[in-house]
Symmetry: C2
Subunit: 299 residues, 2 copies
């Protein structure tokens, strides 16, 4: 039975980095998140794709045990084209063709409405909010977003943050949303809105988690070759909630472990283009790098 | 007896940040480094000041048990004027008056030439090199530098790196010096030149240490208020070598502890202008925050 509901985008991504280029690769926030979660739990994906969506991608996702019952098929698939420059920290958008995403209205399948672990991956905050309205009794709501929604739908985003248990942001977004250069102040601002925990993703610099009276600092994994950071934040979120859905332990201590599992899967994801690395990733690769994360922070 | 030799600059700093301004505050790489080292060991400072150097600053340094025997007095004191913008990550220089630093030739006092622990804090690499020539039998040479020397005296800098045991750089400098966006590649490039360890300082993101087959990631301390980052890198280096001079243990494991002590002192230093925080810092403040560094990285 599916135990993790993930709503977000499914996309075809055309990506260029200093190390190569891929066209119409499998992408989207919910795709990466579901893929990453599937190492730990059974995800139900809620999104929309177009009639042009390649059958092999469907097969790939189903092969990971991901339910696609909540994925509508309409029009053409959302297409994102972007590139990264030398420092690889920020994706620059060349083209966004929303297509079927433009009029997407979330509809959670009846039998998935009782799922307890919910990841609102990056998508329009109104659809994130609508998802929560359709769910019966969530135990854990994890929310992610992006700078685009902070600029264009801040009020709606704030409303969803108020209903989330855990907020994920990257460092730039945290500073933007709370209007401060201090990540500690930004995190305190977020905690005041309602969430029990705020996780600030800092790419190669790791991640910070702030709860009421504690903070946790997860190291970044020192990668020699970063090929394509697309989907790292989404993979982080997916592995994070997948691990929590698997262990059913919502203590701050277990959140820390989940942050490290999120970091492990995200660091792998950056090593190849699109989701290529995740396709070949095994649970033993994950456990091996988890152990390395323990070693590199020991003193 | 002095057990840590520190060569670098002593300056008067005029600093502006979004949180205030100070004029002709006590500054310079060797000043911050000696101050930080003095919590752990007995530093001998080698540098030059001018006749305008305030008596109270002399008193302050001597009060910390720092030997000023190797400090020449000539002309006017080196004066740096700079500012930080909102993100506080990079100092911008408004004015540099080298004054007595312009023709400075290092001269290590006879009785300090046998000191075993040497910190070549940020100064002209030719003077760093000359210092090593004057020393009898160093056991540990720690080297710091800055982007200015990487641009203007790269060859001379490389020569000193070849003689150093531990190289300190910030992340931007590491990328600049080794022409790569990957910190792992930059670190490997540095290790090939000779040092046994390379420490990459990342400001609020912590520090990375690379040795032949291992890496260590020290967390950044999440400061709510950063008032002035001037001297943080120098304080890091000073506390780092001071701790090693005190413990006389040059294992990779003890380097890790030294990195954390460096981070602890540097994080305190950013909390007030110039060296104001260091002036009031106690060993129990340091131990308390060291304990926090352990807690924030536990999972």
């Amino acid at each position: 039975m599916e135990d993790t509901l993930i709503i977000g985008t499914v996309a075809l991504d055309t990506i260029e980095t200093p190390f190569g280029r891929v066209e119409r690769a499998l992408g989207g926030s919910a795709t990466y998140a579901s893929f990453a979660a599937s190492f730990f739990s059974k995800p139900a994906l809620v999104s929309v794709i177009g009639h042009d969506f390649p059958k092999e991608y469907i097969k790939l996702l189903k092969g990971r045990g991901i339910s696609l019952e909540g994925v509508k098929i309409e029009d053409k698939t959302f297409h994102w084209e972007g590139f990264y420059e030398y420092d690889m920290n920020e994706a620059k958008t060349r083209k966004t063709e929303l297509n079927s995403l433009e009029n997407f209205k979330v509809k959670v399948p009846e039998r998935h409405k009782s799922i307890k672990y919910i990841f609102l991956a990056n998508i329009d905050p109104e659809q994130q909010h609508e998802t929560l309205r359709q769910m019966r009794k969530p135990e854990l709501v994890v929310l992610d977003t992006m700078n685009f929604w902070i600029s264009s739908k801040k009020d709606q985003l704030i409303e969803v943050i108020k209903k989330a248990d855990i907020l994920l942001l990257n460092d730039g977004e945290a500073r933007q949303l709370f209007g401060t250069s201090s990540l500690v102040k930004a995190a305190n601002g977020a905690l005041k809105l309602g969430p029990n925990a705020v996780i600030i993703k800092k790419g190669e610099h790791g991640a910070l988690m702030f709860t009421k009276n504690k903070h946790f600092s997860a190291p970044g994994y020192p990668l020699e070759n970063i090929k394509d950071p697309t989907g790292c934040g989404d993979s982080f979120g997916g592995a994070f909630i997948g691990y929590l859905a698997k262990t059913k332990d919502l203590s701050e201590q277990n959140f820390r472990k989940a942050v490290v599992y999120g970091s492990v899967v995200a660091s792998h994801n950056a090593e190849e283009f699109g989701p290529d690395r995740l396709k070949k990733l095994s649970m033993s690769d994950i456990e091996k790098r988890y152990k390395e994360f323990q070693d590199i922070r020991e003193f």
